[in-house]
């Protein structure tokens, strides 16, 4: 089987723009969560989120002008802007800018989103009610479609290989990386630009997740405390936004051009809960089966996994159920630790799996485990595994597993291995 390695990383998140800057902040225990500033929240039960910090690129902030011209941004929902930005960073990081036709045809893109152009769709609906359908922009549809990140990246760089997109709610980013890796393994491409993007921190997005009772509502005055996976005080997730994109590459292809290799994608497992549209089954068997399948594919024993980047959204039900499934599978592994980076940046929905795969790869490369912030008093049901509370830990690790679970009962696990 062809082996797949990661040779480029890109990220836009509530902790900034650019992987190195975000990594230094998240391992330093900083939070990207705050009061929502972009729209009116006084009538919403949840008034906190992880918004993208805007400022100078050189300082680690997001400056849209440095990535996409203003005249073009008018035609793009923010989720596409974030996706293109993260892809641009990952491609520059990998140094992969082919010009010959064969290489262009062997490079593909698979960047997804959980929801897509929610703000654009909401604005368009109001527009046709108030001013009539003739006032709707010709760019309304192409600025909302989920697969248009893949489309724009392909057009911008001339990549003519597989052009695909994933839509599996909060599993999107993990599924995109796993599926894209398979395309390389199956020889459909040598290089894939893969990941996820989301920009649902808008009035209708927050209202919608409030309506399904998924968001934290008890920390509106202390937003940085709102996301607290496994802690007794947790009361729902805090939404974040942004994008994570990686460059995946066939091993020999990467070696031949002397690329920097961050790690290897050695395992990928998928499963369905067949249970409920928003709740996981009490025994967590969907997550359990995804993790088991990923380990089997990797040919790695549970005892050899060093770090798990959990789905860990900070919901009362989900955290405990995932913990139980992990305990069942890794119970004999006393050295494994698990953290939730959603404690620092919130839940990036369709971008989460990609962002968290990047954090996992950085943990492998740097020997530092990012912490679970706000984990002051773990639930009684969440005892017996080191959940990396409050502060990062230095550990030399070889194997990391990253979990992502989505509405609809869709689960994905990635197993990533250090490349030395």
């Amino acid at each position: 089987m062809r082996r797949v390695v990661i040779t480029g990383l890109g990220m836009v998140s509530p902790l900034g723009c650019g992987v190195d800057h975000i990594w230094s902040r998240i391992t330093n225990g900083e939070s990207g969560l705050g009061k929502i500033t972009q729209f009116e929240t006084s009538d919403l039960p949840c008034q906190i989120a992880g918004e993208i910090p805007v400022g100078e690129t050189a300082d680690g902030y997001f400056n849209a002008d440095d990535h996409i011209a203003a005249k073009d941004r008018r035609k793009l929902d923010p989720f596409i802007v974030y996706g293109i930005t993260a892809a641009q960073q990952a491609i520059e990081d990998a140094g992969w800018k082919p010009e010959d036709e064969e290489s262009l045809c062997r490079t593909g893109v698979m960047i997804g989103s959980g929801i897509g152009g929610l703000q654009t769709i909401a604005n368009g609906a109001v527009m046709i009610e108030e001013k009539g359908p003739r006032k709707l922009s010709p760019f309304f549809i192409p600025s909302s479609l989920i697969n248009l990140i893949s489309g724009h990246v392909s057009i911008r760089y001339g990549y003519k290989g597989p052009n695909h997109s994933v839509v599996t709610a909060c599993s999107t980013g993990a599924h995109a990386i796993g599926d894209a890796a398979r395309l390389i393994q199956m020889d459909d491409a040598d290089v894939m630009i893969a990941g996820g993007a989301e920009a649902a921190v808008c009035r209708i997005g927050i209202a919608g997740f409030c309506a399904s009772r998924a968001l934290s509502t008890g920390y509106n005055d202390t937003p940085e405390k709102g996301s607290r996976p496994w802690d007794k005080g947790r009361d729902g997730f805090v939404m974040g936004e942004g994008a994570g994109v990686v460059v995946l590459e066939e091993l020999e292809h990467a070696k031949a051009r002397g690329a920097t290799i961050y790690g290897e994608v050695v395992g990928y497992g998928l499963s369905g809960d067949a249970h409920h549209i928003t709740a996981p089954p009490p025994d967590g068997n969907g997550g359990f089966r995804a993790m088991s399948a990923a380990l089997k594919r990797a040919g790695i024993n549970a005892s050899d996994v060093n770090y798990i980047n959990a789905h860990g959204t900070s919901t009362p039900l989900g955290d405990e159920i995932e913990f139980g499934a992990v305990k069942r599978l890794f119970g004999d592994n006393e050295d494994v630790c698990m953290s939730s980076t959603k404690s620092a940046i919130g839940h990036l929905l369709g971008a989460a799996g990609a962002v968290e795969a990047i954090f996992s790869v950085k943990a492998l490369k740097e020997g530092v485990i990012p912490p679970t912030l706000n984990l002051e008093d773990p639930s009684d049901e969440c005892q017996g595994i080191d959940l990396v509370p409050l502060e990062a830990q230095e550990r030399k690790i070889d194997v990391a597993l990253s979990n992502s679970f989505g509405f609809g009962g869709t689960n994905a696990s990635l197993v990533l291995k250090a490349f030395r």
Partner: protein, 78 residues
């Protein structure tokens, strides 16, 4: 009147297509000279409607392919 219309049309074209003002001459074609695509031209016509408070029917819009075409249509119909 028509000078005023021409200035306003040019301003919209510069803003929407992100092109240099000097390139937006009367004879310039939106697609061939100013880098617009077919969707850009639809949006341009909508911007003209907004600016001049008029409605440009689709069959007329299809014939507006240059800056001069836009100025002529607006001068004659608004």
């Amino acid at each position: 009147m028509s000078n005023d219309v021409a200035d306003r049309v040019k301003k919209i074209v510069v803003e929407h297509l992100g092109v240099e003002e000097a390139k937006v001459v009367e004879s310039a074609s939106f697609i061939d000279d100013l880098g617009a695509d077919s969707l850009d031209t639809v949006e341009l016509v909508m911007a003209f409607e907004e600016e001049f408070g008029c409605e440009i029917p689709d069959d007329a819009a299809e014939k507006i392919v240059t800056v001069q075409n836009a100025v002529d249509f607006i001068s004659e119909n608004v």
